[in-house]
């Protein structure tokens, strides 16, 4: 964990109230697009790449979130491919894996951790 902390940069993405409850928004970080989700029901935050790997569409932040056997997930609005918000793995039978990012909330601000190598 120590090494992980060292290579992470936490950047402030938005305020808590900017993200709809049980929904997502898209955050711009340099040239990256990150989907940020506030899973209010579980009091959890998740962040993944915004691009759905199936058809390379920048859309996951507009997807519906939910759970499958308690695993938190997001469904892409285009073709309803679903991905684990924890591991980024595709739950609907494809090989894709999403990049995921750590999230923390401090003083009403939401921070996303990005590696700085």
């Amino acid at each position: 964990m120590l090494t992980l902390e060292q290579t992470l940069t936490w950047f402030p993405a938005c305020r808590v109230e900017d993200v709809p409850e049980n929904g997502g928004v898209c955050v711009k970080y340099r040239d990256e697009q990150i989907a940020l989700f506030h899973f209010t029901r579980r009091n959890e935050w998740y962040a993944t790449q915004n691009e759905c790997p199936h058809r390379q569409q920048m859309a996951l932040s507009r997807g519906m979130i939910g759970s499958q056997d308690n695993e938190p997930k997001v469904a892409c609005p285009f073709h309803k491919k679903t991905f684990s918000l924890r591991s980024g793995e595709c739950l609907s039978g494809d090989e894709y894996v999403l990049k995921t990012y750590p999230v923390k909330v401090e003083g009403g601000l939401v921070y996303i951790g990005v590696s700085t190598d």
Partner: protein, 833 residues
């Protein structure tokens, strides 16, 4: 074992297929000689060739099939002589081939009566694809057509003439009535009336004495010396077995034609068999395909070590002749000493039904159906399997009156051995086993696995019922739950959400579900909430429970941009509004296209531009078109009586009224409607979830149609309604659908699954059999009264507007990955990978 088959028609082909499907002790060598240039094709559906089917589509199996199976197929090469002493055949091209067994499947040719002048140009027979091609080539300049023969084949030929565009066609029949062999006089009369209403001229009791004209036909003369002008004639007066090669080699033939066979279909030469229309079995020629297939099976069985006899065949048949159902089964005619008849006739709709019942009233002996043969399969099975009739036998053709549901228990009452597909000889048990033991759970899978329903196709509706019943019996559909988060069906949830007065998805999940929800239950519950209360769908935390399109009130398209569809009720729009749409499209660089529902779609809008686009549209008087929602889309209209010289009523005004009444109504699936101002039906109302067609006296209301991948015509719910009653019926119909359908089920599928079908729906909506009509109307009125344009609410609400940005931390920036390419002076989305 070397087998030579003479003839590559439907029965000859079926023999090859059946033989190969059986177990063999000895290697098989199969050689087929066919006279025609094409491999065997579906002659039963020949008339569909003019209706647009290609020769390839009619082909039963391509030439490659024969090659793959190791069959040597010689086409365009008829066998000319058989040398029975040396067991060889000699054919047209000069090949001589030996055989161990010889199968005659030579079929039949058209019977041409010896009328002077039959050799003239423009006189055709109706038998092969070549005949059809020649007819089509000749028909181009033909104005007046005629068909000799008012039987089954003659009426098929008349249909072909109509399909060729010869509207002025006469049918000439020697007998006093049409189809004298299959149906009785009253049924024949009903058929004649219906065909005449379709524009056919019919002459019965008419004997043609001469075909007039020099080298080509110009007219016909009859026994009473009257004449008519005719440019083209098709003779389709019966068949003549092809037995000339058989005769030549000394096989026994009947004096009116046909190769004589015993119960094994064996001729007087034990190595030679005859099957299909060339075979004469106990004095009978079987001119239908099903007995031909049965004969093929008998011979194939006996040649592979089995034992089977041909003991005659039921001649029951169901046809659609020029759009009119005609069926006869069992004993269509019965003498008073053998039984009694129940006859029902509706001269208004042109329906005639007759059933013959044993004198003790217990068994169905046979019958005739004209104009409506939907019950044919059930009646045929009831007859064949000697199922005991209900106490009021008329229920089996009229349904139980004064109650709900169908008479009898349908397919469940049939015994296991009931033959469902007579073409392929497949029993009820075989089909049920394929479902329950082999897991084939769709009609297509059943067709593939058992071949049932692949012949004439008449049994397909029963296959569907059997699949459903078998699955139900296994308990497969018993728990129809929404998903892992809700252990209820949509219908149950609808009632529960209402009873508990739940207005948000989260409240419903807390009260009725478990877990955190998913992309299945979220939009389903959100839709129920919208259908119940009709509140703004993006409030009370419901925005993130909506499907993506509903969440952004626009349709997401390739590349992540959205399309915008303003409502244009009834398709009526002022020039001023058209200009505004054009200006908005120019300003925001949108691709414009007219939709199928008479409105205009603007594509390529960035999510962050949507509120501004709508602000401009709303300022010009537009409202949301709900193209993004499972909701009422459009009510299409023809121009109607205000301009059209045929229009009976003002269809545009009524369409606008309907569209404005139900705009924003959310339902289990999208809803489309249309209003046509007359029977020409330019608005295509019969392809809609609810369609309205003007009549002299009011409106006819059709329901549960759709286009899409499985097109289905809407069914008539009520006739000659005044506008107010029409709207009340639509209120009831829509509310009943919204309350009871499964998620994402269109009205057509909903009706298909409904027990009792359209008659049940009619009872609920028109006759108020459940006593809920008033409640349904009241519930609809609440929704109508609560309607607000949701885009106007967004435009006016800064908090809601904020949600329409691509980047939460850079609201002024657009998604840089969105790309367009130019196309035909507009733009398109860049293709995805």
């Amino acid at each position: 074992m070397k087998i030579v088959i003479i003839g590559n028609g439907m029965v000859g082909y079926k023999f090859c297929e059946k033989l190969l499907a059986k177990q063999h002790q000895h290697p098989l060598e199969l050689i087929v000689f066919g006279e025609e240039m094409r491999p065997a094709y579906d002659r039963v559906h020949l008339s569909e060739y003019f209706a647009g089917k290609t020769a390839d589509e009619l082909t039963l199996a391509p030439a490659t099939w024969y090659a793959e199976k190791g069959i040597r197929l010689h086409l365009g090469d008829p066998v000319q002589t058989i040398d029975r002493a040396h067991k060889t055949v000699h054919c047209f091209s000069g090949i001589t081939e030996s055989y161990d067994y010889l199968i005659m499947a030579t079929g039949s040719s058209a019977f041409v009566p010896p009328i002077p002048g039959v050799e003239k140009q423009g006189v055709f027979i109706y038998r092969t694809i070549e005949d059809l091609e020649m007819m089509a080539a000749y028909a181009r300049h033909v104005k007046k057509g005629a068909v000799i023969g008012g039987g089954l084949l003659g009426l098929e030929a008349a249909k072909a003439m109509l399909d060729l565009g010869i509207a002025d066609t006469q049918v000439i029949e020697f007998a006093p009535r049409l189809m004298p062999r299959q149906i009785d006089e009253a049924g024949s009369h009903t058929l004649r009336t219906k065909l005449e209403a379709l524009g056919l001229h019919i002459r019965t009791n008419t004997n043609t004495t001469a075909i007039l004209g020099d080298d080509h036909i110009t007219g016909m003369q009859f026994a009473d010396d009257s004449t008519i002008d005719v440019d083209m004639l098709v003779i389709s007066a019966g068949i003549k077995p092809r037995d000339e090669v058989a005769k030549l080699c000394g096989l026994e033939t009947g004096h009116r034609g046909g190769i004589v066979v015993n119960d094994h279909l064996q001729t007087n030469d034990p190595s030679i068999f005859a099957i299909g229309e060339c075979a004469l079995h106990k004095g009978m020629i079987y001119g239908l395909v099903a007995p031909g297939y049965e004969m093929a099976d008998v011979v194939a069985t006996n040649l592979t070590g089995g034992a089977k006899s041909f003991t005659g065949y039921d001649m029951s048949t169901k046809l659609k002749l020029i759009g009119v159902d005609v069926a006869s089964f069992g004993e269509p005619f019965v003498s008073p000493k053998d039984g009694r008849s129940i006859v029902w006739e509706d001269t208004l709709k042109g329906v005639y039904k007759r059933i013959n019942i044993s004198n003790d009233g217990k068994q169905l002996l046979g019958g005739i159906l004209v104009g409506d043969a939907e019950q044919y399969n059930m009646l045929l099975q009831t007859c064949k399997n000697k199922v005991i009739l209900p106490p009021n036998p008329e229920d089996i053709i009229l349904g139980e009156r004064g109650g709900s549901g169908d008479a009898g228990a349908g397919v469940t009452s049939l015994p296991d051995e009931a033959l469902i597909c007579s073409c392929e000889g497949i029993s009820k048990k075989m089909i049920c086993d394929a479902v329950s033991e082999q897991g084939h759970e769709t009609v297509d899978a059943i067709k593939k696995c058992t071949k049932a329903g692949t012949g004439c196709g008449g049994c397909v509706p029963m296959l569907k019922d059997l699949v459903t019943h078998t699955l139900k019996a296994q308990g497969k559909y018993v728990r129809n739950v929404l998903c892992e988060h809700f252990q209820y069906s949509r219908q149950e949830l609808f009632d529960l959400v209402k009873i508990h007065d739940l207005k948000s998805y989260d409240a419903a999940l807390d009260k009725l579900g478990n877990g955190d929800g998913c992309e299945v239950c979220k939009p389903a519950i959100a839709s129920i909430i919208a259908s119940l209360w009709n509140e703004m769908i993006l409030q009370r935390g419901n925005a993130t429970a909506q499907d993506s399109n509903d969440r952004f009130l626009a349709n997401i398209q390739k590349g992540g941009t959205y399309s915008v569809v303003p409502r244009i009720p009834g398709g009526e729009i002022t020039p001023e509004k058209l200009i505004v749409i054009g200006q908005v499209a120019q300003k925001y660089h949108l691709y414009t296209k007219i939709t199928g529902g008479q409105r205009i779609d603007l594509f390529g809008a960035h999510v962050s531009d949507l509120p501004a686009i709508w602000e401009a549209l709303i300022a010009a008087g537009f409202e949301s078109g709900h193209a993004y929602g499972k909701a009422l889309r459009t009510v299409k209209s023809c121009v109607g009586s205000t301009w059209c010289r045929f229009g009976l009523h003002d269809s545009v005004s009524f369409a606008i009224r309907i569209e404005e009444r139900y705009r924003g109504l959310r339902a289990p699936h999208k809803l489309k409607s249309a209003v046509s101002g007359c029977i020409r039906e330019c608005a295509e109302a019969q392809s809609k979830d609810f369609g309205i067609i003007a009549t002299e006296k009011g409106w006819n209301l059709y329901v549960c149609g759709n286009g899409g991948s499985k097109p289905q015509h809407a069914l008539l719910l009520a006739t000659d309604l005044d506008s107010e009653t029409c709207i009340r019926y639509i209120d009831r119909f829509l509310m009943f659908y919204i309350k009871t359908a499964d998620p994402l089920t269109r009205t057509a599928t909903w009706l298909n699954k409904m027990e009792g079908g359209i008659s049940y729906l009619k009872n609920v909506v028109v006759h108020d059999s459940l006593g809920i009509a008033e409640q349904l109307e009241a519930e609809m009125q609440v929704l109508v009264d609560n309607y607000k344009c949701e885009w106007k609410e967004v435009v006016d609400n800064p908090e809601l507007r904020k949600r329409f940005n691509h980047f939460v931390n850079a609201p002024e920036e657009k998604d840089p990955t969105v790309q367009f390419e130019p196309m035909r002076s507009q733009k398109r989305a860049t293709e995805w990978k």
